[in-house]
Symmetry: C2
Subunit: 376 residues, 2 copies
């Protein structure tokens, strides 16, 4: 297998290092805009040098961002090359276009490292689907948010201090919006639901609430009730209808999710035969992520295409009625739905996920968290 | 794929049910000593009816026990049939014989359900080895012990009451020795180490300490120090030498292992690239276990043989020096190694795993638990 590697940042460099140890594949060319030279691969600034090289049968995209990653990946598929990428935004955004195109061209398209970094989550889903149907996918999919929430809980930090610490450690970007507003988790949930359930979710129908408005007082309220707050994604399949949403969620101390420390992930599926299976590991980092990119290359070698066939387009229903903790805003709808009070926060009566997120859209300063399912 | 199914108990029945839904494989014959009839398979009391049927290419062994499972599996391999089994005692005990025999006959031999029940742990190990070397395997591998320890910790039950409850729920046998003395975990650790490290451990060199002597006072001592006791297996590979042992181990409240409830398992590998990856799920039960048997059948269909090549025979070294909690016995060796006292129990100075287990062999009434690695 001769590989064209796009990008030589954190992940790209890791992929190069791991593949250098293998005899069944080689990185033939690296597209990189910086002036570097490598002992075993030709370095070029021009993607066309990869595209026009007929000896390169697989493109590993490790650039990130939507453009020009999209144009490069699309052109590579058109040219009959297999794709391995860790770019969740790319795959979730252009799912409708890239997956059917790869199917029609008969090339492999793998993106395991896009969800869970070091956890081979999408491959796990692919395997799990072979022998059962999947009822549920989701969990803690974003290490940055978990780091912030964990620091607030264990060290009693403010949100601002926890975020600064995450930034200092390289776990959060200078502009942390993609992580803290739940966008990264949203991409990962859409991909997981599409693959787990064999559908194509309309992204517009999948709401995401983040953690940027959480206060130390909120964490204190949760502790007083034996609860821990985590950013959790939920995808559900039931009787042919689907739900999918991302939101801060309260779990009891002592539950597996509550014990996930620092920037780790814990991702779960529930299958008709296996019951609950969860996967725990590093959600990011050079070698964990690069490891799953290389695993995808091994799967390409053995002829694995995409994880599940491209499925019909569908909207998430999100009719589940949940009780929510809401702080930071007061209004009459909230008052009408109040069933209890924790500090200065409202605990709502059961309201539909869809209604809660519609309200949140008009109240961007509010913080919401779903109560544990066992209290619903 | 035409399957001969040996045994129609908890697992066998589950396998039959799941395969009935599939078009790529069928259970052609079931060997069962009871008088039953099945809509889709011929039932026989005689293994020879399976062995002599040349249309049956795969034998699924779900009888349990060493004999006649061993004789049947061996004969089936000799006859060129693939083997899928959930029988950890069989594979761990006859590893030396069955794995090389299957290799020489070119048949597939799969036993994923033997470790972790509903967790596809051995398949995970097989996948992880494709792209890195494995430094460590192990974890909570026995649901019965976890149920007992969890009940003692969360509900303050005595060992006897927790065991009775586990027996009433069907989680423990009338004679619980295989579980509570660590023998089941010992088999699973040996299999995991062999496959993860590509070696063949001498079982005699792998010590196992169980939980039968744990008292409510011990659990109270652990709680007073913020610790939780779990039965944990450890396999390590370092610079060409190997350690492997099973023992009660103390973990801090809030760590992932501490949060594993009831009869669940949490099994971990540490790889050179992926770092830590853990797998959480039901360690037993009809459909979770049968699910992984069927996954193995799918892998046989795609031509997967054993998980790793048969490796050279080797003894575990177990030179790690750990501090232990020891209760139930007093003697001069223990006194000489005392560094602290918790209630009526001794906390030892660092002693080698090998020395501690050698002492324990002569003190069958003692209870030991290793202190957390972070306190060593």
């Amino acid at each position: 297998m001769r590989i064209g590697l796009l990008g030589f940042g954190v992940v790209g460099r890791g992929v190069y290092d791991i593949i250098a140890l293998r005899s069944d594949m080689e990185v033939a060319k690296v597209v990189c805009l910086e002036d570097i030279s490598l002992p075993d691969a030709q370095v070029t600034k021009h993607f066309d040098d990869v595209l026009s090289d007929s000896t390169i049968n697989t493109v590993v995209e490790a650039m990130g961002g939507l453009h020009p990653a999209y144009e490069f990946v699309r052109a590579a598929i058109e040219a009959g090359k297999n794709i391995v990428t860790s770019n969740k935004a790319l795959v979730a955004t252009f799912y409708d276009e890239l997956i059917p195109l790869a199917e029609s061209k008969g090339v492999c398209f793998r993106c395991t490292a896009a969800v869970g970094g070091g956890i081979g989550w999408l491959s796990e889903l692919e395997r799990a689907r072979r022998a059962q149907s999947i009822h549920r996918v989701g969990g803690i999919m974003n290490g940055t948010c978990n780091y912030i929430l964990d620091s607030m809980t264990r060290l009693d930090l403010s949100y601002a201090d926890a975020l600064s610490q995450a930034q200092a450690l390289g776990y959060a970007e200078a502009n942390p919006s993609t992580d803290v507003d739940g966008i990264d988790t949203w991409h990962k949930l859409i991909l997981s639901s599409n693959i787990g359930f064999g559908i194509t979710l309309d992204p517009e129908s999948v709401p995401a609430a983040g953690i940027r408005n959480i206060r130390a007082e909120d964490v204190a309220n949760f502790k007083a009730h034996g609860l821990v707050c985590k950013l959790i994604s939920t995808g559900k399949s039931q009787d042919g209808s689907f739900s999918a949403y991302v939101q801060p969620t309260l779990v009891h101390q002592g539950e597996p999710e509550a014990a996930v420390p620092a920037n780790y992930n814990l991702i779960t599926l529930v299958g008709s035969a296996s019951g609950r299976m969860s996967f725990y590991g590093q959600g990011a980092g050079r070698y964990p992520t690069a490891y799953n990119v290389v695993q995808d290359c091994v799967d390409v070698l053995s002829g694995k295409h995409f994880y599940s066939p491209y499925g019909k387009k569908i909207s998430a229903v999100n009719a589940d009625a949940l009780c929510y903790y809401v702080s930071g805003v007061q209004d009459s709808w909230l008052e009408d739905n109040r069933q209890a009070t924790w500090g200065d926060a409202v605990i709502t009566k059961p309201v539909s996920v869809k209604a809660m997120h519609a309200w949140l859209k008009n109240h961007p300063d509010a913080f919401i968290a779903a109560l544990p399912v066992s209290e619903q």
